[in-house]
């Protein structure tokens, strides 16, 4: 291993492993990645993993247990740059959809009953930035191969990643899809960060929001628009919160508070 190669670690907290799998799906590029960087740890791809100082840590998954938290704190401590990869890490993911801590606790009890977990303590799922400083975000459920490669190559070259900061609608127009919202379909494209090439609308399906909130996600306008189209309030909030993780908590509380 040459000394000048960047030391990189890829880690998985609680999630579906989809982002690590997507990295593995880079296939022929994977060999180039292993040549270009010193991959110190990548559980899904190799068994000779080493902990230690890192230039870049890529972390997937949400913090959902005390063990996740300790691992994340440890990774942060030994990494110069920390990149949250995938929706669970950037926004909290599906599992962060229970916004109210009491609601989460009730549901936890419903699943696990009275059983006390001995191996670790469960925590309400949160994105990485709830606990540590995150330097870059690579959203997506799961992340996109092209976006990952472009982010990684830029990091290897010493540049910050350049990701789309606009919502899905831009890419949706690029693919010349008819706007589903205008057809009365509950599409979350305007609220959702681009990067997926508008895959769902391109399959005649509404965006469900799996890239997490776009930088300027206009919840108020989208909410009002959907109300005017006849959708019910809870349906709208439920859809909005499925993939937005903790980002929608304030908005949902305000809407529910205002309308009650």
């Amino acid at each position: 291993m040459k000394k000048d190669k960047l030391k990189i670690g890829i880690y998985e907290l609680t999630g579906c492993a989809g982002d690590a799998l997507l990295i593995l799906d880079c296939e022929d590029e994977l060999i180039n990645i292993f040549h270009a960087a010193d991959i110190r740890s990548f559980l899904m791809a190799k068994s000779d993993n080493i902990d230690g100082e890192l230039d870049v840590a890529l972390v997937e998954g949400s913090v959902s247990t005390e063990r996740d938290l300790q691992e994340l704190l440890d990774i942060r401590k030994r990494s110069k740059v920390l990149v949250a990869i995938g929706l669970c890490a950037t926004a909290g993911g599906n599992q962060a959809a229970f916004l109210d801590p009491r609601e989460w606790e009730d549901n936890l009890k419903k699943v696990y009953g009275r059983t006390e977990m001995t191996h670790t303590k469960p925590l309400q799922s949160k994105p990485l930035n709830a606990y540590v400083k995150v330097d870059h975000y690579l959203p997506g459920c799961p992340i996109d191969r092209e976006q990952f490669l472009s982010t990684l190559t830029r990091l290897l070259a010493g540049h910050p990643p350049e990701l789309h900061r606009f919502p899905v609608c831009v890419e949706c127009k690029w693919r010349e899809n008819d706007c589903l919202l205008n057809r009365g379909i509950l599409c979350l494209g305007p609220l959702t960060a681009a990067g997926c090439r508008a895959v769902c609308p391109s399959h005649n399906l509404p965006c469900v929001g799996c890239w997490g909130p776009a930088e300027e996600a206009n919840y108020t306008a989208e909410y009002q628009l959907l109300m005017e189209k006849g959708f019910d309030r809870e349906m709208i909030l439920r859809k909005m919160s499925t993939f937005s993780g903790t980002a929608i908590a304030d908005f949902a509380a305000r809407i529910r508070g205002v309308k009650k």
Binding site: E12, L13, T14, G15, C16, A17, G18, D19, A20, L21, L22, L24, D25, E27, D28, L30, I31, F34, F42, L43, M44, A45, K46, S47, D48, N49, S62, S64, T65, R67, D68, N94, Q95, A97, F98, W104, N107, L108, K110, V111, Y112, E116, H119, T120, P122, L123, C141, P142, C196, V199, C200, S202, H203, N204, L205, V208, C210, M235, R238, T242
Partner: protein, 577 residues
């Protein structure tokens, strides 16, 4: 006393690890721990629409994403009386074959093979075995391509929807897949040869019960409305709890007669064992050539079974596409009703997967999802235990760690099990004390003495129970005194049996073991059949432990030996505190 722990088994739909605890000549514990945090997926679906459920549940696992979607679709369509057009069924089969090829070729070539060839990862392996790595990669890419074409993207594609697809694949896309599948056939044959002829080690070998979907019309396949067990039983998938429950029960002594008291295995090896006779063409020929009695008891053959299924999938794809091309793209299908209850079963690459839903007025009211890895977990522990115990007995302790690795990976619990961090830790002496204390933290411990009065040290369990009772402990029973009335109250935990057990150790050695481990070890379970008659709650037995003392002699009519007496005193003293 030491602990061999594979603490970062990583992915088992999350992070997982395995720990084996060794006390002298006895493996006293094997724990297959899933470190995954709570994600509450079943709860997340409550109150949501069936369409929203389909957005969420595939995210349970990236590796089986399409199987989750497929199982959910089957359940929800049944619940909502949605009649799938024949073309939709064919294209779903195609997408599922894509996932099978993707998952199996990744596992066989890139995750399992490096183990057998002695490399830390596939990239290192590629330097010497470039052809194998390349074939594996290309097959996997092809599987990905099928998944992407049908589902919209590599992972978590949303295209398969209730009653059909958001976008149907074009004729050109289907013809391309068909032609590529035909081109792959020679490589699939080579894969079978390679994986079926690997020298799989003989440890661990032990019979198990295989469970998989029972495809209709005598076909091999990856879904069905019934579940077939290797003992010949057929169960309606709607009654899946009979299978999944009986598994719990089968460990719990009470009802083990049902499945011979064994955990069960799901996955490629289960399918090949239960349905291999149905394979036709090249896959059928390969099955006849390679299948033998060892496939029935050695989990490592799952790698070979996966190779057979890769071959089957490549042979099946052209047939599916030929059929599909004859049909026009169907119109979207509406709901027949908005309230209903149903179960969908499909074979994920790593085994049978159940999704059960209760839909009420268009909203999900109840969800139950049983994943293959959850079902395999007990057998994974059992085979790890057998491997560890057998190697220990043979004086090959050094091999334990790697062998457990091999076993776990063979089950293909999920992708990252290819990689792990293995640690060997020295644990303190008299670990049974610490663990007994840990148990007691879950509530007041109930003790049940076992043994035979007239057989010297074999009376130790009974004698110990009497002594405890004499000292005023309330929760102590003798096996023969147990009746419905005197059994420890339901829900009381923990439950510890006291008995003399021949561990092959020096007399007086004390070991604390999970009760079901004793069952898995034929040399230890000489007397546990008697437990089946006890009027105990099955869940209690599942979590029960055995506190055993190594006897000096169990000859008829003798007294309890001095060594065992001393051990008994040690236990009494510890419990007195």
């Amino acid at each position: 006393m030491k602990t061999i722990s594979i603490s970062h088994l990583a992915r088992v739909e999350g992070a997982g690890g395995v720990t084996a605890t060794i006390d002298g000549q006895v493996v006293t514990d094997v724990k297959f721990i899933i470190n995954e945090g709570p994600r509450l997926f079943e709860r997340l679906t409550i109150g949501k629409t069936p369409e929203e459920d389909l957005n969420i549940v595939p995210r349970i696992c990236a590796i089986c994403t399409l199987s989750h979607r497929y199982a959910a679709l089957r359940a929800l369509e049944k619940a909502l009386a949605i009649k799938e057009p024949p073309k939709v069924l064919l294209l779903r089969e195609l997408m599922h074959l894509g996932e099978m090829i993707e998952s199996h070729s990744l596992h066989v070539y890139l995750l399992a093979l490096p183990d057998y060839l002695g490399y830390p990862n596939a990239i290192a392996m590629a330097s010497k075995y470039g052809f194998e790595a390349k074939v594996g990669l290309e097959m996997k890419q092809f599987g990905n391509h099928i998944m992407k074409t049908l589902s919209g993207r590599f992972v978590h594609g949303e295209n398969p929807i209730l009653g059909g697809f958001g976008r149907f694949p074009t004729r050109e896309e289907l013809v391309f897949i068909k032609n590529r599948a035909v081109q792959f056939l020679p490589f699939a044959l080579k894969t079978v040869q390679l994986m079926c002829e690997l020298p799989y080690p003989e440890i661990p070998e032990s019979d198990t019960l295989f469970v998989c979907c029972h495809p209709a019309a005598g076909q091999f396949g990856f879904m069905g409305d019934e579940v077939i067990l290797s003992n010949g039983d057929l169960v309606d998938a709607q009654e899946y709890k009979k299978v999944t429950n009986e598994f719990i029960v089968s460990h719990s002594f009470c009802k083990r007669s049902q499945y011979d008291g064994k955990p069960y295995s799901v996955g490629a090896l289960a399918r090949i064992n239960n349905l291999g006779e149905r394979l036709e063409g090249e896959a059928g020929r390969a099955f006849k050539k390679y299948f033998n009695a060892r496939w029935k008891k050695n989990p490592l053959f799952n790698n070979a079974a996966q190779a057979l299924e890769i071959l089957y999938s490549f042979e099946r794809i052209p047939q599916v596409i030929e059929e599909a091309l004859k049909m026009p793209d169907p119109e979207p299908v509406g709901w027949g009703r908005d309230t209903g209850k149903a179960v969908g079963a499909v074979e994920a690459p790593r085994g049978i997967l159940f999704h059960a839903y209760d839909v009420s007025a268009g909203r999900i009211a109840h969800t139950d999802i049983v994943t293959p890895t959850a079902q395999n977990a007990e057998d994974i522990e059992r085979y790890c235990f057998i491997a560890a115990q057998t190697l220990l007995k043979k004086g090959e302790e050094a091999k334990i760690r790697d062998r457990m690795d091999l076993v776990i990976r063979a089950f293909d619990p999920c992708i990252s099990c290819s990689a792990h961090m293995v640690q060997v830790k020295q644990a303190p002496n008299e670990d049974w004390k610490t663990r007994l204390q840990e148990l007691a933290s879950g509530g007041e411990t109930a003790f049940v003495g076992l043994g035979r009065e007239d057989r010297s040290d074999d009376a130790a369990g009974l004698e110990l129970a009497r002594l405890l009772r004499d000292r005023g402990s309330k929760n102590v029973r003798l096996a023969e005194d147990l009746s419905e009335e005197t059994a420890p109250a339901v829900g009381t935990r923990p439950l510890v049996f006291l008995d003399a057990v021949d561990f092959g150790e020096k007399p007086g050695k004390i070991c604390l073991l999970p009760l079901r481990f004793v069952l898995w070890n034929t040399s230890l379970s000489h007397r546990l059949a008697a437990l089946t008659g006890l009027p105990l709650d099955s869940e209690q037995l599942l979590g029960a432990h055995l506190l055993g003392i190594q006897p000096a002699s169990i000859a008829e009519g003798g007294p309890i030996s001095a060594e065992v007496r001393e051990a008994m005193n040690e236990i009494l003293e510890m419990l007195g505190n």
